[in-house]
């Protein structure tokens, strides 16, 4: 008995903290996020995120590929919004090249980017509600998500890793009847958002789990690098689609959704409003869809049509040259920010004048938003950490790259 260690006796009023490991395979961490929580009883004293489990070195791999070969890798950074990532990559390269993108290609890009936002927000809404114990919302959301994925499959041949955007335009003309299918979806989607709201917005259990939970002020959110719906829920009226328009967004009318409370419920409200606004943009894009080509008139950069290759020598030569040698991009560097469903997604592309990018850096929204987690949750209960992680909508593929 003399050798048996004794637990230290605590003085009255003195407390002892312990370290709790959460993840990397915890269902509420949406991937492989590991959190080390220092807890005092049930309340959180400190939170230490441990990331890097999904690090695959995409930025390094990009340096070994031709410019056009990078596009499929951008899908894999954020598997919930492939089209937005494609767009974020092709825009800076097109800026370096000085390419003019035809109007129809730009409008189809906006249309697909907004469908991607709907897709991503639906996955977020379903899993966030699931984390908080509302099972049925998940099934409702995935019903509509399936429709969106079918639209992606029609246009790109793939449901998730679409790689549909190309430097200089789009890979293919959207198939016949595709716009009608999108219209059918857009017409019924607004009533589906009402269904989700019926389940959650006035649900007393959901409100108790989310109202006043994990609040963050606008100043803290800006200082810590927050962006997107997480920032707008704290009252910062900022959206790259309106403030730094790209790909023709200045031609669309939409509202930038904000809330002021800065808690989990406010972030829910902002994203649900964004679903409606995205659907509005989808309808505008369908109404005003211009006619014309879907690829820029730049034969040295854009692959020729298959038909022309069979009849024109020039096209065959250009095709062979682009596939075997790539195309050179003028030296320089650009950073183009766009609004992904999670916040500011920006690619910093450096060219040294060769056919391969010298450096590609992805500024991903989840990486910065994860830094907000500590301010949101310190002093609160462990169960609130689950609500907070869900509310900032992280994707680990994007954090680790």
């Amino acid at each position: 008995m003399a050798h048996m260690s004794r637990t230290p006796v605590l003085e009255p009023g003195q407390s002892q903290t312990m370290i709790l490991n959460m993840g990397p395979q915890h269902p509420s961490t949406h991937g492989v996020l590991r959190l080390l929580l220092e807890i005092d009883g049930e309340s959180v004293v400190r939170i230490m995120p441990d990331i890097g489990y999904l690090h695959t070195g995409i930025e390094k791999t990009c340096e070994a590929k031709f410019y056009q070969q990078v596009v499929p890798m951008t899908d894999r950074i954020d598997y919930l919004c492939p089209m937005v990532n494609n767009l974020a990559y092709v825009l800076p390269v097109e800026k370096l090249l000085g390419l003019e993108i035809p109007a129809k290609a730009q409008w189809v890009r906006v249309l697909l980017a907004e469908l991607t936002r709907i897709n991503s927000h639906l996955v977020w809404l379903g899993t966030h509600a699931l984390d908080l114990g509302a099972m049925s919302v998940f099934l409702y959301c995935f019903r509509e998500r399936e429709d969106v994925l079918r639209l992606f499959e029609m246009v790109a041949g793939q449901r998730m890793m679409t790689s549909y955007f190309r430097i200089g335009g789009l890979a293919l003309e959207p198939p016949i009847g595709w716009f009608d299918r999108v219209r059918e979806f857009a017409d019924r989607f607004d009533s589906k958002i009402d269904e989700y709201e019926n389940l959650l917005t006035e649900n007393p259990i959901f409100k108790m789990r989310t109202k006043g939970v994990a609040t963050i002020s606008a100043e803290d959110a800006i200082a810590l690098g927050g962006s997107g719906p997480t920032l707008r829920a704290s009252g910062v009226d900022f959206d790259n689609r309106r403030d730094f328009p790209y790909s023709g967004y200045e031609k669309f009318q939409f509202e930038v959704c904000t809330a002021t409370a800065g808690d989990v419920y406010a972030r829910y409200q902002v994203r649900v409003k964004e679903l409606r606004e995205s659907n509005k943009i989808v309808k505008q894009a369908l109404d005003g869809m211009p006619e014309g080509p879907i690829k820029a008139a730049a034969p040295k950069v854009v692959l020729p049509d298959r038909e022309n290759m069979k009849t024109q020598m020039e096209s065959l030569i250009y095709h062979f040259k682009i596939i075997t040698e790539g195309f050179t991009v003028p030296a320089g560097e650009v950073y183009v920010p766009i609004e992904s469903p999670r916040g500011e997604m920006g690619y910093y592309v450096v060219s040294d004048g060769t056919a391969k990018p010298y450096r590609v850096h992805m500024r991903t929204p989840s990486f910065a938003n994860l830094q907000l987690l500590e301010t949101m949750t310190v002093g609160r209960l462990i169960a609130d950490v689950v609500a907070a992680i869900g509310s900032i909508d992280i994707v680990l593929g994007e954090i680790d790259r």
Binding site: H55, G225, G332
Partner: protein
């Protein structure tokens, strides 16, 4: 294909920009150069002045850059100075952006951390020091972030081997 316009590198032509004017009036010798390329303004800052320059830009009343959006590195091996550290700043009030750049030599690259100016720099500086081996003096938690703790080398350096065994 539209012609790409030439980059403007003459400071005299660029100094109407409020951010650059602010830096020049603070300390003209800290500004090593400036460039407007494809509509994007980049300012080169002397490496030992970067933290002060960032604080000046953040507190500038005419155009406060309250957000550090991105921080990354570029390796120009075998050129010297070898590294560039690139800061993307954003003013939420004025809706403008600016890029700050610092050049660093390949010998024990180090510069001041800007975590005291924007806490957002925390993860970004850890990432740059992890993948490029640049040390940030005054960082509160200077550990690797993406690679394992016991990893040797810095993968985004251009002389890092990409094939074979370690």
């Amino acid at each position: 294909m539209a012609a790409v316009t030439e980059a403007v590198t003459d400071i005299e032509q660029l100094k109407e920009d409020p951010a650059l004017a602010c830096l020049l009036s603070w300390n003209a010798s800290a500004v090593a150069g400036a460039k407007r390329d494809r509509g994007q303004l980049s300012v080169y800052v002397q490496s030992e002045k970067i933290r002060e320059a960032c604080a000046i830009l953040r507190d500038n009343p005419a155009c406060p850059f309250d957000g550090l959006i991105d921080l990354t590195g570029v390796d120009w091996y075998p050129q010297e100075p070898r590294f560039e550290v690139v800061y993307q700043l954003l003013s939420y009030k004025k809706k403008t952006r600016i890029t700050l750049k610092v050049k660093l030599s390949g010998e024990a690259p180090a510069l001041d951390s800007v975590t005291s100016v924007w806490p957002a720099a925390n993860f970004y500086e850890r990432e740059v020091s992890d993948l490029f081996g640049i040390r940030f003096a005054g960082h509160p938690n200077p550990l690797r972030i993406l690679m394992p703790e016991d990893w040797e080398g810095h993968p985004l350096r251009k002389d890092y081997p990409v094939e074979g065994y370690r």
